[in-house]
């Protein structure tokens, strides 16, 4: 087996540490020496991210204080329905705004890592203000310190509400939050006992949020007694428990392992390598940027078994496609339908454990839609879906019937045409294949693609070859 080419290595980094190469920037990227790649990615994400607010002060006011369903019940049915509809619309705007950011932002690393945290700190909450605040926390802390991120997320209204900590009171504990903090956010299953969960839940009593969605510590609901968590005993509160969890090396190893699966390889995970990453992460005081650097600058990152072996998530597939082949859409909201049809809607993880990823993205329906997607775009065709109302939001009031959205995509071929302008026509197809695919390019496959490519004009060749190369199993991988 020969070493991957420089082009394949660079694309590997750009796909994993971001959403793939941007058509217009690619020629500049490929000129850069390899040692400049990672520092540049870091630098492009150095700035504090802009806020993705979709609510103004008026809307914020409307949603303040109705984070809890109990309060929502105090509204009239009419008010409730309109509030939910408004929240749903704004959540869709937030979804699309973030998607645009992923496509267009220079801060590829930050947005990609934020997508990782979005799945790690999974939360479904109909309150747009809470979701917006949580996204901001995640994007702000994405590359900084995991301890700070964990504390900020654990005190966010979205997470406290989703995991029922408002109902966690002295003498009447609700263990949901304490359990998920250990199982999903820090230690992972099997590294704590049921007693640890019960004791930690007591420490988190009184943690809640006020009408503005701000964290509050309700002293009168807090259990001041002595607790024993993971071998430590004291009059702990929630902050103490988070400190204890961060003291565990297992937390660093759990995060390192999850990041390895997300950024490197979700099927083959060498234990000693993850242990090495976890220990260095722990010793750095949970510096996320350092952990990412350890991953993305390691020589094993470019091992053949790690390249072209990851099934792109629906969001990565779609954002990556838009970066490769810039397009404008008549109906940007059709992208929400596309997310749903492909099985990943931002802000709607399947459960608190987030998206399982890997081969679970694929079934016959989602794969065939993925394969047909380039055709649908080129033909400016529609995506057609039945309404599958989310009852958590629609409360049974969603309209029945079919949803049919025309993407109305206009494809902009100039960047690709320019990038490959110097390539002779008879080499264009293999050149494009090496650009668009991360798996080894098999001659037999190229022969099939060639057969179904039109080459009357150079323009036609570029376009049909690109679309056909994207309509393959190979293109689903990065």
């Amino acid at each position: 087996m020969h070493a991957p080419t420089v082009q394949r290595r660079l694309k590997h980094l750009l796909w994993r540490a971001g959403f793939g190469p941007d058509a217009a920037e690619w020629p500049t990227w490929i000129q850069r020496p390899e040692k400049a790649w990672w520092p540049l990615l870091r630098q492009q994400s150095a700035e504090e991210p802009g806020e993705l607010w979709v609510t103004d002060d008026v809307v914020r006011g409307l949603f303040m204080g109705i984070g809890e369903f109990a309060r929502l019940e105090e509204l009239t049915p009419e008010e409730r329905r309109s509030r939910r509809a408004q929240s749903r619309d704004l959540l869709q705007s937030l979804n699309l705004s973030w998607l645009e950011e992923m496509v267009l932002s220079q801060a590829q690393l930050r947005e990609k890592v934020a997508l990782f945290w979005h799945g790690h700190f999974a939360s479904r909450n109909f309150n747009i203000v809470f979701q917006q605040d949580l996204l901001h926390i995640i994007r702000t802390h994405a590359l900084d310190n995991f301890g700070d991120l964990l504390r900020a997320v654990s005190k966010s209204a979205a997470i406290l509400a989703f995991l029922n900590n408002q109902q966690n009171r002295k003498g009447k504990p609700n263990e949901n939050f304490a359990r998920e903090v250990m199982e999903l956010f820090t230690l992972g299953r099997g590294h704590y006992t049921e007693t640890d969960v019960k004791e930690a839940a007591r420490a988190f009593t009184g943690w809640g949020f006020d009408l503005k969605g701000q964290f509050v510590f309700r002293q009168n609901q807090h259990d001041r007694g002595i607790k024993t968590v993971l071998g430590h005993t004291g009059r702990f509160d929630g902050d103490d428990v988070l400190d204890i969890l961060l003291e565990q090396r297992q937390t660093a190893c759990f995060i390192a392992q999850k990041m390895y699966r997300f950024f490197v390889n979700d099927e083959q995970v060498p234990e000693e390598r993850v242990l090495w990453l976890g220990n260095r992460f722990y010793d750095s005081g949970y510096d996320i940027g350092r952990l990412l650097e350890d991953i993305f600058t390691a020589e094993w990152f470019y091992d053949e078994e790690n390249i072209g072996h990851q099934i792109k998530s629906p969001v990565v597939l779609w954002v990556g496609l838009r970066r490769t082949l810039p397009l404008t859409l008549d109906d940007p909201e059709a992208q929400l339908l596309l997310q749903r049809a492909l099985g990943q809607v931002l802000f709607f993880p399947p459960n608190v454990a987030g998206w399982p990823g890997g081969r679970t993205w694929i079934d016959t329906t989602t794969l065939m839609l993925r394969l047909r997607l380039p055709h649908i775009l080129a033909a400016s065709d529609a995506i057609d879906l039945g309404t599958d109302n989310d009852d958590d939001i629609a409360m049974g009031q969603g309209r029945a019937g079919r949803l049919r959205r025309r993407l109305g995509a206009e494809l902009h071929w100039e960047p690709l045409a320019e990038t490959f302008a110097q390539v002779p026509s008879d080499e264009l197809l293999p050149t494009l294949a090496h650009y668009l695919w991360q798996t080894p390019v098999a001659k037999e496959r190229l022969a099939i693609v060639q057969k179904h490519t039109h080459s009357l004009t150079r323009e036609q060749l570029l376009q049909t070859a690109t679309l056909q190369l994207m309509a393959t199993p190979e293109y689903q991988l990065c």
């Binding site: 940007p332 608190v352 049974g396 099939i448 190979e474």
Partner: protein
């Protein structure tokens, strides 16, 4: 929309579409599969949380009438099953099936530590996990994993809809979603895809690339198979012109065409009746009733009703008390229907909900839903339930 937009590249539109006309594959014959006159399971999901108490009404219970002054079904309107229980007036077809011994009702079905969130509770019903665990495979999917290696399966599980539910996703095998056999076939039928899928693999069989190619080949083969089977002996019976009616007609056609499909999965909703429940509930139950009655009559006439088991479920029931909006809020335990020509024990299978013994206003479950699954797996699909459900459950006697 409040999307912050940036300037996109502006270029003249190229008529890419006209350059790009997929050439369609000529349909070619496949070897005929073995005739399958085996048993079929049809799952009907009542999405949104069906109100069980207004579906099978406890007409002899004062607490029921006291707690639901606005929305209770009057005994005089309901269709009596026993002195204590009666069906919602919209369920006349189910009443006839009950009288014929083709309907069984299982009350108080649920699970420990019930979750009142739609999506989480649905997740639990689909995966059959304990409430404290998150599984990413479904119970029918795991059945496919266990069942398919031993038999050639072209289309072992079909979902009539746009996407495959978690219930039908196994580790290795997954169900297939379709709205209509012809539509599925047309969408997939392309010479390019066919050639691509049929080509020799270029990657080792355990790689994601090989997995994708195999899934692609399966999808194409299954779409063609389903399309063919749906045309062998299409149902000519009358079905109501509703989505569920049309879907059940497709199911009937595939059963009559002897497709090798073992599980069909359909959904009806939304039963999330927080507001003005009576009208919405009446409409949905009428749709359910008319479609199921037509399906039963069709298969009876064709001599296949004894090969079919229909099972309904919902992610949870609703609170005993009505709310202030003429509706009901999320509850816990609920009822399941089982329909078919081969029920070992039809009728009311267990006691009606005990409205004197509630958990903060909600019904307490007495039967774990996984007991129903285990019974269906063992006695209908004839497989071992323990490897699929992760533990052994006491079986029920309706099969």
């Amino acid at each position: 929309m409040l999307i912050r937009r940036r300037t996109f590249l502006k270029t003249a539109s190229l008529a890419a579409a006209s350059l790009y006309l997929p050439r369609f594959l000529q349909a070619h014959a496949r070897p005929a599969a073995l005739p399958n006159r085996g048993k079929v399971l049809v799952v009907v999901q009542l999405s949104g949380g069906n109100d069980g108490l207004n579906t099978v009404v406890p007409i002899g219970n004062d607490i029921y009438y006291r707690e639901r002054p606005r929305i209770a079904i009057k005994a005089a309107h309901a269709l009596p099953l026993t002195a204590e229980a009666a069906l919602h007036p919209a369920l006349a077809g189910l009443k006839r099936l009950y009288d014929d011994g083709h309907l069984a009702v299982l009350h108080n079905v649920g699970y420990p530590n019930p979750d009142r969130s739609h999506f989480r509770s649905m997740d639990i019903w689909h995966s059959a996990s304990p409430a404290s665990e998150y599984w990413h495979t479904g119970w029918i999917g795991r059945y496919l994993d266990a069942h398919c290696p031993s038999k050639p399966c072209q289309a072992p599980a079909l979902e009539l809809g746009d996407a495959i539910s978690l219930a039908l996703k196994g580790q290795q095998r997954k169900g297939i979603a379709l709205r209509e056999p012809a539509e599925l076939y047309a969408a997939i039928r392309s010479a390019y895809f066919a050639e691509y899928a049929a080509a020799a693999p270029v990657a080792p069989s355990d790689t994601p690339l090989a997995y994708l190619q195999k899934t692609m080949a399966d999808a194409i083969a299954s779409a063609e198979y389903i399309f063919k089977k749906s045309g062998v002996k299409p149902s000519t019976a009358n079905y109501p012109d509703t989505p569920l009616g049309r879907q059940l007609r497709t199911v009937a056609s595939l059963i009559l065409g002897e497709a090798d499909t073992v599980v069909y999965y359909l959904s009806l909703g939304s039963f999330d009746t927080h507001i003005n429940q009576p009208m919405q509930h009446q409409r949905l139950l009428s749709q359910l009733d008319a479609a199921l009655a037509a399906f039963a009559a069709d298969l009876k006439a064709q001599g296949r009703w004894s090969d079919v088991l229909v099972m309904t479920f919902s992610e949870f029931g609703r609170r005993v008390s009505q709310n202030a909006s003429g509706g009901t809020d999320h509850g816990t335990a609920n009822l399941m229907f089982f329909l078919g020509g081969a029920l070992r024990r039809p009728g009311l299978l267990n006691a009606l909900p005990d409205l004197n013994d509630l958990d903060q206003g909600d019904l307490k479950f007495t039967t774990d839903f996984r007991q129903a699954y285990a019974t269906v797996l063992e006695r209908w699909l004839e497989t071992h339930s323990q490897p699929i459900l992760g533990q052994a459950f006491e079986l029920l006697d309706f099969l």
